[in-house]
């Protein structure tokens, strides 16, 4: 191993570990200490329920997907009492008394946490003082103080405390303020309502309507097993078996008999589809052109796609030659083969089990860590022009992008539609678009000094996007639900994808613009590329060389060139996306333009890009102004994506 490669590896490893620690340790302070799980909890195996379908609001979900979205309503980003979501759901339903004083209700709003803690502390302290308990009162106050301090950090409090009349009165008061605090109160009350065993039982709609059709509602298991229920119960023998299995599950759970629970769960998972096999979900319900779950074609498609991308990246890596070829080829081939293995394994599962696996794997948002590694390596490649770092960086990027692609395909498959209908999907899919473009651009610029910059831009954007999805599951809810009626249109795929593609281009441009600003702050020369139309940068000169030559181009020119390549593409894509949105709006709402905030700020983003193009023509320091306006454009785009979506309600509130 050469000295340089050793240096690259050591620097990379140090930075990677340091950043991971920073990112993990900081929020860890705000994570609750998980209670020790009981032997029963450890022994219970709910995996058979992974292939049980649950009906929720016009959609059939896997049990894990269903419980995952519901338990987020209870404990927010934290697991309920440290349990997996499926276990927590059943435990809350069957042993509610165990959770009466457990801190499992999540209060999202931080000022409200402080307010609740203040009221609780004052009132309980008064009660203790009145009780004349002496030293025990002081000890109790200390315990309460620690608990409330923990609450202000983690946001978790018990139902019992929240049901205190003084807290209820506080919540009533805050609920009246529709502008500021009503939503927060609603969130708390929803969390409390969801923990109610009656609610949990009523919503466990896991029985397909016996002999019914697609339009008939699914039945809650409680209702199905109820003697004398006024519903068609179909085959009485199957129903009796379900009844016995359910009763056994309830009884075993309440008596903490893990083996009994496991047996009952396995029985139930086998019996439920028998009630109405035709209605039970299969691959045919997906929006894919073929029924992959039945034909077992889809794992081949997944690995085929990955292999194609991998080969494309190998082609890129071949241009780097020598050592790097092996460095890239090895992990890439391994990742593809490994992924194919995973895909084949998953291919043997049914669709619901696959959905459960996907949610159990935290929607694979942890891929951000691989992107982080790629970022570190690619930054070194860009800054120090180290070929080794570039080779390693591209191969790690290839691995991350391959996994990202697999995630996207998996979600497409389990949701039955292209993933771009909510914030989680829009953000992660936009990042994936950036990856696709980076792969193509890296091939084009393989001989230009701009190489690695596009992969770096994409890696940064994807890393941030997946981090947001990973660390903010309440904002970017990964739950899969049906589309709003207005979204059932082909323009959803055209307009939305073009717009989010332009957004990721703007984000990638902001990365190279950021490097340019850093370069200037570090005393770099006021350079810029001087070609009419950044497309020219991608072409070779009449003499066959790249416009940006390896030896003559400064770092400023390289960063400026990359920014312009991306901004010009974003300029066209954003405008085209706006036009497509107008066409869709015209045939959906009867008007092409309604001055909705989302529309106006997309237009504002375009105005910033137009300013960039014109300012660049007139100012002397073209590079700096371009970089600053690219960053400003990114700011306006993020404002549109975040503030307009979450704060300013408009017609696009579902986007």
């Amino acid at each position: 191993m050469t000295q340089r490669m050793l240096t690259v590896c050591m620097v990379t490893a140090s930075l990677f570990i340091g950043l991971l620690l920073f990112i993990w340790v900081r929020p860890a302070a705000n994570r609750p200490t998980p209670p020790e799980r009981s032997q029963f909890a450890q022994q219970v195996d709910l995996s058979p329920l992974g292939s049980v379908a649950v009906y929720e609001q016009g959609r059939l979900k896997s049990f894990d997907s269903f419980t995952s979205s519901l338990m987020k309503l209870v404990s927010g980003p934290h697991p309920v009492a440290g349990h997996p979501d499926g276990f927590a759901y059943l435990d809350l339903m069957l042993r509610p008394i165990a959770y009466e004083d457990a801190d499992v209700i999540y209060v999202k709003n931080k000022p409200m946490r402080r307010e609740i803690a203040g009221v609780l502390f004052r009132s309980v302290a008064e009660d203790l003082a009145g009780a004349q308990l002496g030293e025990r009162a002081s000890a109790a106050r200390d315990v309460l103080e620690r608990r409330l301090q923990e609450f202000t950090k983690t946001g978790l409090l018990s139902s019992r405390m929240l049901l205190d009349p003084r807290i209820q009165q506080l919540l009533d008061t805050r609920a009246a303020d529709l502008m500021r605090t009503a939503k927060s109160v609603q969130q708390i009350r929803t969390a409390m309502a969801v923990t109610h065993p009656r609610w949990l039982r009523d919503n466990l709609q896991i029985v397909p309507p016996p002999g019914g059709g697609l339009d008939d509602p699914w039945i809650a298991i409680d209702q199905f097993v109820l003697p004398g229920a006024a519903i068609d119960v179909g085959d009485e023998q199957v129903r009796n078996q379900v009844r016995l299995a359910w009763a056994s599950l309830v009884q075993s759970w309440q008596s903490q008999d893990a083996s009994g629970v496991n047996e009952a769960v396995a029985q139930l998972a086998g019996l439920l589809p028998q009630i109405n096999r035709q209605l039970y979900p299969s691959g045919s319900r997906s929006g894919w052109p073929w029924s992959f779950a039945d034909s077992r074609m889809w794992p081949w498609l997944v690995s085929g796609s990955l292999l194609a991308i991998g080969l494309a990246l190998i082609a890129v890596s071949l241009t780097v030659r020598s050592l790097v070829c092996g460095v890239i080829g090895g992990p890439l081939a391994m990742s593809v083969v490994g992924l194919h293995g995973v895909a084949m394994t998953m291919g043997r599962m049914d669709m619901l089990a696959l959905e459960s696996w996907y949610f159990g794997a935290n929607n694979m948002t942890w891929v951000w860590m691989i992107y982080l590694l790629a970022v570190i390596l690619l930054v070194m490649a860009v800054v120090y022009r180290w070929r080794t770092a570039r080779g390693l960086g591209l191969s790690v990027f290839a691995l991350a992008f391959g996994l990202h692609t697999a995630t996207l395909l998996l979600r497409w498959y389990v949701s039955g539609r292209w993933p771009n209908t909510n914030m989680f999907e829009a953000v992660t899919t936009a990042a994936w678009f950036g990856g696709c473009l980076a792969v193509i651009l890296e091939i084009f610029v393989r001989r230009s000094p701009m190489r690695s910059l596009f992969a770096l831009g994409s890696a940064v954007a994807s890393m941030v996007a997946l981090m947001c999805a990973h660390f903010m599951p309440l904002r970017l809810n990964p739950g899969i639900s049906n589309k709003m009626p207005v979204l059932h249109d082909v323009w959803l795929y055209i307009h939305t994808n073009v717009i989010i593609f332009s957004y990721i281009l703007i984000a990638m441009a902001a990365v190279s613009a950021f490097f340019y600003v850093i370069y200037r702050i570090g005393g770099g020369k006021a350079d810029h590329v001087n070609v009419g139309g950044a497309g020219a940068i991608m072409l070779s000169t009449p003499s066959g060389e790249s416009y940006l030559s390896e030896s003559k181009s400064s770092a400023g020119q390289i960063f400026d060139g990359a920014t312009m390549v991306l901004m010009e593409l974003a300029f066209i894509m954003l405008w085209t996306g706006l036009v497509m949105g107008a066409i869709w709006a015209d045939h959906s709402w009867g008007r092409p333009w309604g001055w909705d905030p989302k529309e106006v700020f997309a237009l504002n983003t375009f105005i910033v890009l137009a300013l960039l193009v014109h300012v660049r023509m007139k100012v002397r320091d073209k590079g700096l102004w371009t970089a600053l306006l690219a960053l400003a454009g990114c700011g306006v785009m993020l404002f549109n994506w975040i503030a307009i979506n979450f704060v300013i309600v408009g017609l696009h509130s579902y986007a």
Partner: protein
Amino acid sequence: MGQPETSAIKPSQPHSRSLIRVPFDVFSSVWTGIVLLVLLFIYSSIGSAGLWLPVSVNIFNFPDGWLQLHIRQYRGFEMTEFEWFHWWPFKTLIALICLTLVVTTLRRIPFKVINYGVWMIHTGIIILAIGSVWYFGTKVEGQAPILRRTVVIQVPGAAPVRLPAVPGNSTTVQTADRIYAFQISEIDPSWEILSGDDAGKRAYAISVTVQDGQDFFVRQLLAGYPQYTEDMVRTDNPEQPMARAVKVLGKPLVNEDITLSLDYQPQKYFHVVDSWALYLREQGSSEWVQRPIEGLPRYNDYFADRSHVWLPPDMAGPRPNPLDILVEPITDDPYHNIDLRITSYLRYAFMDQRRSPGGSILDPTAVVVLRSSDGRTSRAELVALDPNHNSALDGNLVFQWIMAEEQLDTIMEVQAPALTISVPQASIEITEPVTQLVSGDPDTPFIPIEGSEFSYRVRFIQDGLTITPGDVISVAAVEINGPDSSFLRWVCDDPRRTRDMSLDVDAQTGHMETLPLDERIVMDYAPGHGPAPMTLIGGPEESTLRLMTSFAGQEIHLQPIEIGSSIDLGAGVALLVTEYAPRPRIEVRPAIIPKSQRNRDAREQFSMIRAEVNYQGAMQAVWLPFHMFTFQDAGHSLPRMGFQPTVVHLPDGKHMELIFGRRRLELPAPVVLEDFVMDTHVGGFTGQAVSVLNWISLIRFQTQDDWGEQLHVSVNSPQEFGGFSYFQSQWDPPDPQSNYRGLNYTVLGVGNRHGVNVQLAGTCLAVLGMIYAFYIKPVIKRRRQQAVYARVSAERAASKRAQPTGAPEPELEPVATLKEQA
């Protein structure tokens, strides 16, 4: 744009530069364009998202750390987004940008192949602007509610009557000798035909109850299937109280003289969004006269006097700021001599009745505040003589009025609840007070009923249980041991509600099974009575107000109340009467809702105006609530959409009805709703929009002699007719809670779209221009460069060949010239 090749403008000599060139120079400057784009950005941002000011050091705490200022909603602006982007500053900006584009393009960008991209972009934007002027200048947008059907009633000897098909709608038809009453009792939008050739099909079914003197029957009408019209009649069978007339009477219709049929309910108008109008008509007339209102504000409250409104208690309220908007009569206005003026506008308010001292009629009112030591408070306004408002806190606080001191004894009298039990077979009838409850003592023994094999004990009693607002019952849960079984009986004070339940509780569900009522034993429950824990006693003198407390385990205590002074009730609770008026003045004013409590999705739905009606020298002021739609009358109004015309009595005896709403315009032709279909995802409609796949309105427009072809309007699929496009806007959702099946009407969005194709052409041209400027132009330039370099190389090679050996090198073309050629 796109770094065009600009023609060199020779620097003009100062002395020869004429003033006329200055504006041309200004508008051909790229800097002018940049400044205008910056202004456009600022203007758009402020108009759309408002101004955001940081209010905390932590600017990353978004949005809590920021203050949003909705500038366009401020007093003085009061604009919707549409109005903000049609205000003169915006129009001026756009005009200046277009002017700059035109002048710059013509003066500075030569029309050459290399500049086609920029020309296309600039031209595209100019075309877009022209299309937008046309589009927005003529834009009209509104909503048209269309009811699905109307019932046409024909009774011999009376004119036909139309009854819009809305559940609960009713009418009467009078002939010379009889009065018939009709009511829409039920509508099932998806009723399955069970027999005949159409068995299995589903139809829109309307049930109309018909009361013809003593006769009563229900006629069922199916839209599209008049042949299946039939009546349902009452039977003596309690298991099947209604049966088909054909089975009971042998004929499908009870009275064939009464003809009921279904017809379309045409809609002639659509209501324009973000517009205001006042409607008036003489009471009894069916046609409204519309007067558009110009200049009415939208977002803030304006009123002439604080005494006109109830201000929120915790805020000083907006300062009085009267309006004076004359609502001009229209041409041919039959009521042109009635002068209408708007003097107040409230964005979010509702009419509220409150009492204050100074009235003449005895109607004792007290405001009571209960405070606990932990700071909790509870406030209640009690009206002694109003049974709906004389108690609070679930009946624990009551206000009673006595005419004589002796009535106090009645109030203080305590009577235990009692059960009247009869066993008909044994001729037993006894009344026993309920003294012991299982809820108080789990070991309460069963009490045998002498002379029978029954025994009982009372688990618990619950008096004053509110089932639904206004429906209050008292109930005793009695465990009964019979000769052959034991069961639980819910004995209600209303015997019709008495039920028997199984004592076994399902382990999983916690449910008890309902059993058939055991008629061998009959029980009636009479709830006990006594004073409430806290009873305000007013009278017999009007100034006398006392408090009677009756807490468990304590004696009844009576004490005088001093207004404004607290009375300690023990356990850290204090009672305070803040206001007391034996003869209050009742005032009805609009109560302004604090801004923090306003639902921003409600838009203008809770707005109201104060209109002054001037006629023959007399003036009357009335508050008019906002109406989304101005219906013909209450019978034509749609579920969930109010219809409350305000009646004004004029000095000449006329009664005028007024409505405040949105402007309405005539549709190109009346439209009817033939059918309304809701497509759902798996599992059917769950009450949430996400379970809906699509809404489809099947409509027809009136043509010269009939209803035209059927048009399907659905989400993402509008239809065109008469210069307007029609899109799915709202629908009538079912409400399972109230057993309302919905789907009785649709609301179509209506709008014109002039100039859309021009806009589209402009934007597409701009897209092409961008692609040309960024990606085709560099290729052209590169090819030209290559050609020049090739030519120069060839020339050099040729000259080198022609040059005798030793001659000096020929002079090369300067680089600048080469670039120029390229």
